[in-house]
């Protein structure tokens, strides 16, 4: 370790130490001033000077009495199973007043890139008990599936429900790592209470960088959380669920830092490397061949202005394996969870579901429901122009399907864990409002086994010819 007293320049979170050639790129530093100690990292190092980024508030620092200690290594965090049940700050230091937990290993918080050829392709389905996810956007162990939300929508409730229902119960292998990125105290407290109330508390670790904590710490918080999660998943063999909320706050901290560094801005002022930076978090996820554990990520982000093309959701969507999009319209209609079905997607669903894993008809019923829901949107917009009475009989069956789907399958109680059979049967019940001839994405055999089994398949809709009824004749 090398100590230097006094720096030459302070510019927001950046410190410049001139005439110092001994820093390694990326090494961690302790910045000590009379006001306290912060951690930071070497951003650029040369024979003439080192530039340091401080993860903390530099207010009140003075160039002459700042002491900088170069630790000679990148930021490392002691992690182990004993970290579960504990609360940490944004840099991974205990925040619950207890001493640091005993560490099994210390690991670089930046992680190392996983060899893509060492990955195992994730295909084990997680039953979340949330129909909108289990039926239409199935989650698998090792997937990264973000929730694209917006201010005022119940993303926190949905994430908690997924964590509790996927991770609660008897499965002792499951652990939850929760990273709060610039969220309000009461939101963080809400998560904590629900975890504690569920008996999952002993299997949960919280990393809290709250709204009034230094924004620059936020750059480290998800990395610290993922370092623990990687250890639990890939070394200790646990099934780990990581919740990162709110990634929008993280990206804004990154933008702030980038602006301080006078970097060339990309879209909306975010740095050009936002994609690479987000990928360095989201890709710390998955499964490794020959190892039992898994790391599943559910990042939450609030879309500024409800805009899915904003750089944060956009670049997230390009890295993650799908997205769960929440809809303000469904929320206003009182439907929980308000999952926007056509906009949502699980890329890993196709290889996870099917006979043996979920149910033989799952792929077909999901494909048909997506297709019907897309048609429903057209029918609804036509109905607002022409009125329902002017719709054809076939089109009216779509309205019935939509009603049955949204109130039957989509809507459920935040405490309800619905089993998969019930979920898929509800999808068939909704589809059975449509004439069989409309169900082109389902094979004849599947149709024979499931169609009309529920309610709603009224007379005149079952046959091949003659469907649609007289309403089609103008």
């Amino acid at each position: 370790m090398i100590d230097v007293v006094g720096v030459d320049r302070i510019d927001g979170p950046l410190l410049v130490v001139e005439g110092f050639a001994g820093a390694a790129y990326g090494e961690v530093v302790e910045v000590t001033a009379p006001t306290g100690t912060h951690l930071g990292e070497v951003l650029s190092t040369g024979t003439d000077a080192a530039i340091i980024e401080v993860w903390g508030d530099t207010t009140g620092l003075r160039t002459e009495d700042v002491a900088v200690r170069f630790r000679g290594e990148t930021l490392r965090l002691g992690v182990g199973p004993a970290s579960l049940g504990r609360v940490f700050d944004g840099l991974g230091r205990p925040r619950d007043g207890l001493p640091a937990p005993p560490a099994a290993v210390t690991a670089d918080v930046h992680g190392a890139a996983l060899d893509p050829a060492a990955r195992a392709y994730p295909s084990d389905v997680i039953r979340t008990g949330v129909s909108a996810i289990d039926a239409m956007n199935t989650l698998v162990r090792g997937q990264k599936l973000p929730i694209f939300s917006a201010a005022g929508l119940p993303h926190d409730a949905l994430a908690t429900q997924i964590a509790l229902q996927a991770g609660g119960g008897e499965d002792e292998d499951v652990a939850v790592v929760f990273a709060a990125l610039g969220i309000a105290h009461d939101v963080a407290a809400g998560f904590r209470e629900r975890f504690e109330g569920s008996g999952l508390a002993g299997r949960t670790a919280l990393f809290l960088n709250l709204a009034d904590d230094p924004p620059m710490e936020r750059i480290v918080t998800p990395r610290a959380a993922l370092t623990l999660a990687e250890h639990l998943a890939f070394e200790a063999g646990r099934h780990v669920l990581v919740i990162l909320t709110d990634m929008t706050n993280y990206a804004e901290a990154l933008r702030e830092l980038s602006a301080r560094k006078n970097e060339v801005p990309g879209r909306k002022g975010y740095p050009g490397y936002l994609y690479t930076d987000l990928a360095s978090l989201y890709e710390r996820c998955g499964r490794i061949r020959g190892r039992p554990g898994s790391l599943t990520q559910i990042p939450i982000l609030t879309m500024p202005g409800d805009d899915v093309t904003h750089p944060i959701p956009d670049l997230t969507g390009y890295v993650t394996e799908g997205q769960i999009v929440l809809s303000r319209a469904l929320h206003r209609a009182g439907i929980y969870p308000p999952v926007d079905v056509p906009a949502s997607l699980s890329r890993l669903m196709k290889d996870g579901i099917g006979e043996g894993a979920t149910r033989a008809d799952h792929a077909e019923v999901a494909a048909q429901t997506f297709a019907a829901y897309a048609r429903l949107r057209d029918v609804r917009s036509l109905a607002t122009i022409l009125g329902e009475n002017a719709l054809s009989a076939t089109d009216r069956t779509y309205l019935a399907f939509g009603e049955a789907f949204e109130s039957g399958l989509l809507a459920q109680d935040p405490e309800e864990a619905r089993d998969l059979d019930t979920t898929l049967d509800l999808a068939w019940a909704a589809l059975s409002h449509l004439p069989a001839s409309e169900l082109g994405r389902v094979s004849e055999a599947t149709l024979a086994a499931h169609y009309g089994g529920g309610h709603g398949a009224g007379a005149g809709h079952g046959g091949g010819a003659g469907h649609g009824g007289a309403g089609d004749a103008t």
Binding site: G26, D115, P116, V264, S443
Partner: protein, 595 residues
């Protein structure tokens, strides 16, 4: 290797070197005690700027830099096909280093023995690029050892048939200038330099992809180039995977450039198990994977598409037809932007450097169907996925890629959210190869392909026009002729354009089956129109023909039984004709009574 200088400054993947000995611009160098791979990107007096292909944390000023005397190059040698390498051709998934990438790792494949068969004899005159012998690299791909392009001359020695290793000399050539040149099994080629060939050939033979919407409507030629832009979730990667599986190329180079690790894991799990439709061998036996995922070092991502295309050219020069899929070129462009930003270059559009268009043009110009230096035919077909931010096709990477590629396959968010895959928009996509490949289709299928496409295209045009009206007035208000058009356009979309990548039969479709499916829709549509003109109500036609069943033919009928589609077409057209005749007879009777 010699020391050329010491590090002056390190900032992320960029480093500045105080030079002690001369280096060349674009020279490959190794950095620091950890021996990290890097490339010289600019020189200024006694200072050089490097981009480093590995994680740089821990590097310190003063660490040594070693020169190699050559530009960044790939090794062309047997063992490439079937393997997975990173953006600078280091092997992935091998060794006991554990599941994480270790900076400074090197290739170790040189020790393997390969059975060599010579194809020249002492005294033969050979041109540069001539084949001196072959190695069965995989059961699907034969590797040819070539005379280096600049070594035209006379063979003075040649190795006998038997085992050879990468560094073995298998032939010697006395060049016309009198130099004695060794021909080794493994040869190096700089990635940023296109490999030479004798002549370009016209791209008039389609590369069959097995995707109906592409082959039939927006074909790509062997040696052609295509861009595949689409917002996230529109199915770029699934389509690229389908192309890698179904295309009738000899060798596939798949470049995963800044994309997801799990997608590479999927390819590595599936391709060894899936069958190559042409040879019946595992797909992996014809596949080269270049994987530089989004979390791997950004400079190596920039290099990865050059590594991929250079390997593609190397197999082209052995007389193979090679197709390269790059997913995604936007991530490559972002790597370019990130490095340009670190160098504080003046940005042009959206922060991209001003040389983005020329780099894209140079890349896509490496596509082509050619006569190789050895006189054989080979081709490189390039298909680049583009990931426009926010799905906005006016952004620079999409725009410039569109300028330099000849087929444009636009993916559509609305089609994707209706789970209509491949979500290739039929309005807005195009191919300049249509006319060039039409004679091949006519020859291969015996059908006037150009005319068939026109009739199908007219139906889609009509549909698009009617959809706008339907949105305003509802389908009920349309006349019978137009209701029939909507119904048959739906059949065209569901039964032909939409293709299920996961279905065992439908995942890939042979040309004959494609033509039969399109013909079924077009002829049924026209027969129906004729009946409607004779006074038949469209509802009567819908009762007479089970349209939903026709829509399932694509999944029910395998390629080698596709004549069954013609039977279904004949039955459907006959049923429509019967309804028409009945109506005409009834009318004749009424008119007869009236007179």
């Amino acid at each position: 290797m010699t020391r050329v200088g010491r590090l002056r400054r390190i900032t992320g993947p960029i480093a500045e070197v105080a030079l002690e000995a001369p280096v060349g611009v674009m020279e490959a160098v190794f950095v620091g005690d950890a021996h990290l791979a890097a490339e010289v990107i600019s020189l200024d007096g006694d200072r050089a700027t490097l981009q480093i292909y590995e994680e740089t944390a821990g590097l310190r000023p003063g660490e040594p830099v070693e020169g190699t005397g050559a530009p960044l190059s790939v090794t062309i040698a047997p063992g490439i096909v079937g393997a997975t390498v990173d953006g600078i051709q280091r092997p992935l998934g091998v060794g006991d280093a554990g599941p994480y990438l270790v900076p400074g790792a090197t290739s170790t494949d040189a020790e393997r023995a390969w059975p060599f068969t010579p194809t020249v004899a002492v005294g033969d005159a050979v041109d540069g690029g001539a084949v001196v012998g072959t190695v069965p690299e995989t059961p699907s791909v034969t590797f040819s050892v070539l005379v280096p392009p600049d070594a035209k001359g006379t063979v003075t020695s040649v190795a006998p048939a038997g085992d050879v290793r990468h560094d073995d000399v298998v032939a010697q050539v006395r060049t016309d200038a009198g130099d004695e040149r060794d021909v080794t099994v493994a040869q190096r080629w700089p990635v940023r330099t296109p490999r030479p060939f004798a002549a370009r050939l016209e791209a008039d033979r389609p590369m069959i992809t097995g995707q109906r919407v592409l082959d039939t409507f927006f074909p790509i030629a062997r040696g052609g180039s295509a861009s595949l832009p689409g917002p996230f979730g529109a199915g770029k990667t699934v389509l690229q995977h389908s192309l890698a599986k179904g295309s009738d190329a000899d060798v596939i180079v798949y470049v995963g450039c800044g994309e997801r690790g799990n997608e590479m894991a999927q390819v590595l799990r599936e391709f060894p198990e899936l069958e190559d439709p042409r040879t019946g061998r595992p797909l992996m036996d014809r596949t080269i994977l270049v994987a530089n995922t989004s979390n791997m070092p950004v400079a190596a991502r920039e290099a990865s598409i050059y590594t991929g295309v250079t390997l593609a050219e190397a197999y082209r020069d052995m007389g193979h037809h090679v197709a390269l899929m790059a997913d995604s070129t936007s991530r490559w462009a972002e790597a370019l932007r990130e490095i340009a930003g670190r160098l504080e270059e003046m940005p042009a559009e959206e922060g991209y450097p001003a040389y983005l268009p020329s780099r894209l043009a140079a890349f896509y110009e490496r596509a082509g169907r050619v006569t190789t230096l050895a006189g054989a035919e080979g081709s490189v077909t390039l298909i680049g996925a583009v990931s426009p931010p926010g799905g906005d096709f006016t952004e620079p990477v999409t725009q410039h890629t569109q300028r330099f590629t000849r087929a444009f396959w636009a993916l559509d968010r609305d089609l994707a959210s209706a789970r209509h895959y491949p979500a290739v928009r039929w309005q807005g996509s195009y191919s300049f190869y249509e006319d060039a490949v039409a004679p091949w289709w006519r020859e291969a299928t015996g059908v006037d392909w150009r005319d068939l496409r026109r009739r199908a295209g007219d139906l889609l045009e009509e549909d698009a026009r009617l959809e706008r009206m339907v949105r305003l007035v509802g389908a009920e208000a349309l006349p019978d002729r137009q209701r029939w058009a909507l119904l048959l356009a739906d059949l065209l979309k569901e039964g032909v354009l939409r293709q299920n990548a996961l279905h065992p039969i439908d995942a890939s479709c042979a040309p004959a089956k494609q033509v039969r499916l399109v013909r079924l829709v077009v002829e049924l549509y026209e027969a129906g129109l004729e009946a409607i003109r004779s006074g038949v109500a469209w509802l009567r036609l819908r009762e007479a023909v089970d349209v939903a069943a026709l829509g399932r033919l694509k999944e029910a009928v395998p390629d080698d039984e596709s004549e069954r589609i013609d039977d279904a077409r004949d039955d459907a057209v006959a049923a429509v004709a019967a309804v028409r005749r009945a109506a005409e007879a009834a009318r004749a009777e009424r008119e007869g009574v009236a007179t």
